[in-house]
């Protein structure tokens, strides 16, 4: 079976391995997906990100690789579930609401970067 998506733990492991492949002294930090507990990551892009991590880690001047994951579309829409849990642990009532969150765009991470290679396809061409 061809796996089209990568599990979240496997995604993290793959990026660590891509950095360590260059040297056991290279470190890698992933930021931006700390609150994800279970998710399937796009496999095609996982491979390309592994390649990018390896390429960055290959540079002898670079000690640490930071992988920052942020919303590409800077307004995300979320469902909010307000749940009431009874003393016996059962969920008695829930109210569903929605909230839209605006995020900073990538420039906040790029201000002091000397060389930028933007490999993202245009929106809608993924």
């Amino acid at each position: 079976m061809k796996l089209m998506h990568t599990s979240l733990p496997e995604f993290k492991l793959k990026l660590q391995m891509a950095a360590l492949k260059q040297s056991p002294n290279k470190t890698l930090e992933i930021r931006g997906i700390e609150n994800l507990k279970s998710a399937k990551m796009q496999s095609l892009r996982t491979g390309r990100i592994e390649l990018a991590v390896e390429e960055i880690a290959r540079d002898k001047d670079i000690d640490k690789v930071e992988v920052v994951v942020m919303p590409r579309v800077p307004e995300t829409m979320h469902t909010v579930i307000v749940k009431g849990i009874a003393k016996d642990g059962t969920a008695k009532k829930a109210i569903l609401e929605t909230i839209n969150i605006i995020h900073p765009t990538e420039e906040v991470e790029l201000a002091d970067v000397k060389e930028i290679d933007d490999r993202r396809p245009p929106l809608g061409r993924h």
């Binding site: 579309v73 839209n100 900073p104 990538e106 906040v108």
Partner: protein, 339 residues
């Protein structure tokens, strides 16, 4: 090389933490007179500022509406956000949509009778067309730290999370080099801005979601705190009164044609004008009562003249905490930017 005049408010100007990002206003006519495009001008401003900046482009010959449904001269036609000298390729610029004012549109949106009476022939702009923007909900643009929201009437810093409210009348005062009031929004303004009129391609809502007499907040007593502690730049109350009176004099009825915000109700009450109390929803009444406005107890008073209302606007119209009247020249620098 030609120079473009930009009205510029530096980040940090104003009360509390002040403007959360830099603010740049430009007249479309000035851009066109240089033979360049609006987007070229935006990129030139972005490069010059090199930090977080919200950029609003005005057509001072066009008209728009306030959130109350009051028609005003001068409209924002393009909004932008820039940071580190860049304008985000996908989310950095948004153009407002010109609306053709037809008898059918006026029938759907009766507050446009003001256009028929005072501004016939003028172009009308409010928000963008929803199918031309890429983000799902807000009429917003963003680049890095800079966010320009609600069709350019609210600017934010996505990192410090500070915000400033820029109602259109205050922005037009700046474009006309007039005085403005710097202050903190407060509970009355927080309730008032939720009382909108139903508009296609509106500044905040793309469809006619909330009619006159209703509230977009719909959050009961929480509405007064939703936007109550934010720096704002607004027009002096005499200017606001003049615009509300002009709408009332066109036959606009608060709660029916135009909003039932505390400011509109206060002016209508002082004038002895009709208020469509019967059309104001219970949700809106709860929010109004939470800031001391009980529409069911508004009693006819001895009507004041328009001139008297304008002269006494500061005592008649409630809202804005710790207001400070300043000439816009005290907070605005006119930059000449090479393009």
């Amino acid at each position: 090389m030609a120079c473009l005049t930009v009205r510029y408010i530096r980040q940090g100007t104003g009360p509390k933490q002040g403007a959360p990002i830099n603010i740049a206003f430009v007249d479309k006519k000035d851009v066109e007179s240089l033979g360049i495009g609006v987007e070229d001008a935006i990129h030139a401003i972005a490069r010059q500022v090199a930090g977080p900046v919200g950029i609003n482009v005005f057509d001072m010959e066009a008209v728009t509406t306030t959130s109350d449904g009051i028609m005003v001269e001068g409209a924002i036609v393009t909004m932008a956000a820039a940071d580190i000298g860049e304008v985000h390729q996908e989310f950095g610029i948004l153009h407002m949509e010109e609306l053709e004012v037809t008898p059918e549109l006026i029938e759907e949106e009766p507050h446009l009778a003001q256009w028929e009476k005072y501004f016939k022939g003028k172009k009308l702009f409010r928000g963008p067309a929803p199918h031309k923007k890429l983000i799902p909900v807000h009429n917003a643009v963003m680049t890095g730290r800079a966010i320009n929201n609600n069709s350019a009437t609210e600017m934010m810093n996505a990192v410090t999370m500070e915000e400033i409210l820029l109602p259109i009348l205050g922005q037009l005062q700046i474009m006309n080099d007039g005085p403005v009031v710097f202050g903190i929004t407060g509970e009355i303004m927080s309730v008032g801005i939720g009382m909108t009129v139903a508009e296609k391609y509106g500044r905040v809502f793309p469809t006619r979601q909330f009619r006159a007499g209703d509230t977009a907040h719909g959050s009961g007593e929480y509405a007064k705190n939703v936007k109550s502690n934010i720096p704002c730049i607004v027009a002096p109350k005499s200017v606001l009164a003049k615009h509300i009176l002009r709408a009332l004099n066109a036959g606009m009825v608060p709660g029916l044609h135009i909003s039932c915000s505390p400011a509109v109700l206060a002016v209508a009450s002082a004038k002895g004008a009709e208020i469509a109390t019967y059309n104001i929803t219970e949700k809106a009444k709860i929010e109004l009562r939470s800031v001391g406005v009980d529409v069911d107890k508004i009693k006819p008073k001895a009507p004041m003249s328009d001139e008297e209302i304008i002269a006494r606007a500061d005592e008649i119209i409630p809202g804005v905490v710790d207001p400070v009247l300043v000439n816009s020249s005290e907070i605005v620098t006119k930059l000449e930017i090479s393009v």
